[in-house]
């Protein structure tokens, strides 16, 4: 067991992670009435997974919700990605670079594999995008 008497938040997670983790405003799922894309990335055995539901139009992504299981960095990254995606044109998905999240959230090197799950989200969206 690792003693945690000193609050670990300030030592381990930067301010942005703490803000996002405290307010996971995009957590949840969308009403099936929307024109939805749904997919899951990651696996329980890997320690992180997320189920994304994305409402969209022909030219852009309208709403994004996710349900996720994982460490604070992963949950914060899901929240960051959901915000990044909303309102974004399909063509702009090519601008995605997981290093942006890594930088903003100051993700430690040993958690990069979890960030790459977000690459899978982008990959799924590209594959499933209309037209």
């Amino acid at each position: 067991m690792q003693p945690m008497a000193v609050p670990m938040s300030e030592q381990t997670y930067n301010l942005r992670v703490r803000e996002l983790f405290a307010q996971l405003t995009h957590a949840g799922s969308l009403n099936p009435a929307h024109d939805l894309l749904r997919f899951t990335v990651g696996a329980h055995e890997q320690g992180a997974y997320a189920d994304f539901s994305v409402a969209h139009g022909k030219s852009c992504i309208e709403l994004v919700r996710y349900q996720a299981y994982g460490c604070p960095h992963f949950l914060a990254a899901c929240e960051w990605l959901a915000s990044w995606l909303e309102g974004r044109a399909w063509l702009e998905l090519s601008m995605w670079d997981w290093r942006d999240v890594e930088h903003v959230l100051d993700v430690p090197a040993n958690k990069r594999a979890r960030l790459l799950l977000l690459d899978d989200v982008i990959g799924q969206l590209r594959r499933l995008q209309p037209g």
Partner: protein
């Protein structure tokens, strides 16, 4: 303010012990080296011998068996390396368990590299290592059995008296890491046939940096010292004695013994309320034996919540996690895995440990926080 529920990691210094230590630190009459023969040295020595007697009385031993060390880790190292090196070339087998503290497991690993054979007994799903397992593992080569009295993660109590009797019958030395038990359970090294006993100051409301190894004196045990120099501590542990720490340690042990029974019921009531409140969340499991455990330690697995996120969400609560996430590692607790828990469930486990200064208000505030955050994280997570 952070709610402290990590007494198994370290207990706060009791104000009475702090006062005693401060007095000792500030007294000009106690600044002499306890090994010196002049008046200052003799005065310091007298207080050290008083502390030695206090500790011996608490564990049913003799003062001459108490060897002061820097803490239980050093005591464990001295016991294991000391016995193994003294008996080098003779018996070369040690029995221990998979759920020992790293202060025991790491020295054992090193001894294995030096040719000592080590048997690591697997506890049952409740964390108990049964005396019959020890008996079955014994060979003519066995020189030492090392078993902790109370597991630091689960609070499970091992049947050390039975194991001690077994060892005594076979002429095998018996070492017990009692870091978690001296303040919580009665110990009598003679009645429990314990040859070597590790104790820590900061687990019983004493200062950090001080501990002791009790070494049976009749008949005397062969023990190779690991720190040599001035021949202090009967030649078993050289180094100038830390008078203030030792004096405070002695008082802390005495207070722990004097107040143990009164504390036990109060802490049991707090722990039971905590467990009852956690159970009302649903999706929680107790790690370790339900009844064969000490009052102050409660280790709980939370289903449907990732361990590191749980710890982070409960930042206002000072507890310990079932993983080493704070160090950047995802490794799950080897103790919980030895009990058959999956990596995920071990990582989603928290150890709550209560003690002398825990209050009913602490428990209620902790429950409120845990309910709020576990519910939030479960709602964020995908339903299994």
């Amino acid at each position: 303010m952070t709610i402290y529920m990590d007494y198994a990691a370290s207990t706060p210094l009791d104000p009475r012990v702090a006062a005693c230590m401060t007095e000792c630190l500030s007294s000009t009459e106690l600044q002499g080296n306890p090994s010196s023969t002049h008046a200052y040295g003799r005065k310091a020595r007298a207080l050290i011998e008083q502390a030695r007697a206090q500790i011996a009385a608490c564990i049913g031993g003799v003062p001459a068996g108490v060897v002061f060390t820097s803490g239980a880790t050093e005591s464990d190292n001295l016991a294991l390396f000391g016995v193994a090196k003294f008996h080098a070339g003779n018996a070369r087998h040690i029995i221990s368990s998979r759920t020992e503290h790293k202060a025991v497991l790491e020295p054992l690993k090193r001894l294995e590299k030096q040719g000592v054979k080590v048997t690591y007994l697997k506890p049952d799903a409740q964390g108990i290592v049964h005396p019959a397992q020890v008996r079955e593992a014994m060979t003519p080569e066995t020189m030492l059995v090392s078993l902790m009295h109370v597991n630091n993660e689960t609070g499970v109590i091992q049947e050390v008296a039975e194991v001690g009797q077994l060892c005594r019958e076979r002429g095998v030395l018996f070492h017990v890491d009692a870091a978690q038990s001296v303040s919580r359970l009665p110990i009598n090294v003679e009645q429990m046939s314990i040859d070597l006993l590790s104790i820590s100051g900061h687990k019983l409301y004493g200062p950090k940096g001080i501990g002791a190894l009790y070494v049976r004196r009749h008949p005397v045990i062969g023990l190779e010292p690991q720190i040599i120099g001035g021949g202090h501590e009967f030649g078993w542990r050289s180094g100038t004695l830390a008078t203030p720490q030792i004096v405070a340690f002695g008082l802390a042990v005495q207070l722990a013994q004097a107040e143990r029974d009164a504390e036990h019921q109060r802490i049991t009531d707090l722990r039971d309320r905590l467990w009852q409140g956690l159970q009302s969340l649903g999706g929680v499991e107790l790690n370790g034996h339900a009844t064969q455990r000490v009052a102050g330690i409660l280790n709980v697995a939370f289903h449907g919540v990732e361990g590191e996120s749980l710890m982070f969400a409960l930042d206002e609560l000072a507890v310990s996690a079932g993983s080493a996430c704070s160090t950047g590692s995802d490794e799950a607790s080897y103790v919980l895995r030895a009990l058959g828990r999956s990596d995920q469930l071990a990582q989603s486990s928290l150890r709550f440990s209560l003690g002398r200064f825990s209050t009913a208000d602490d428990v209620e505030r902790a429950l409120q926080l845990i309910h709020r955050e576990v519910t939030r994280l479960r709602s964020v997570a995908v339903a299994d």
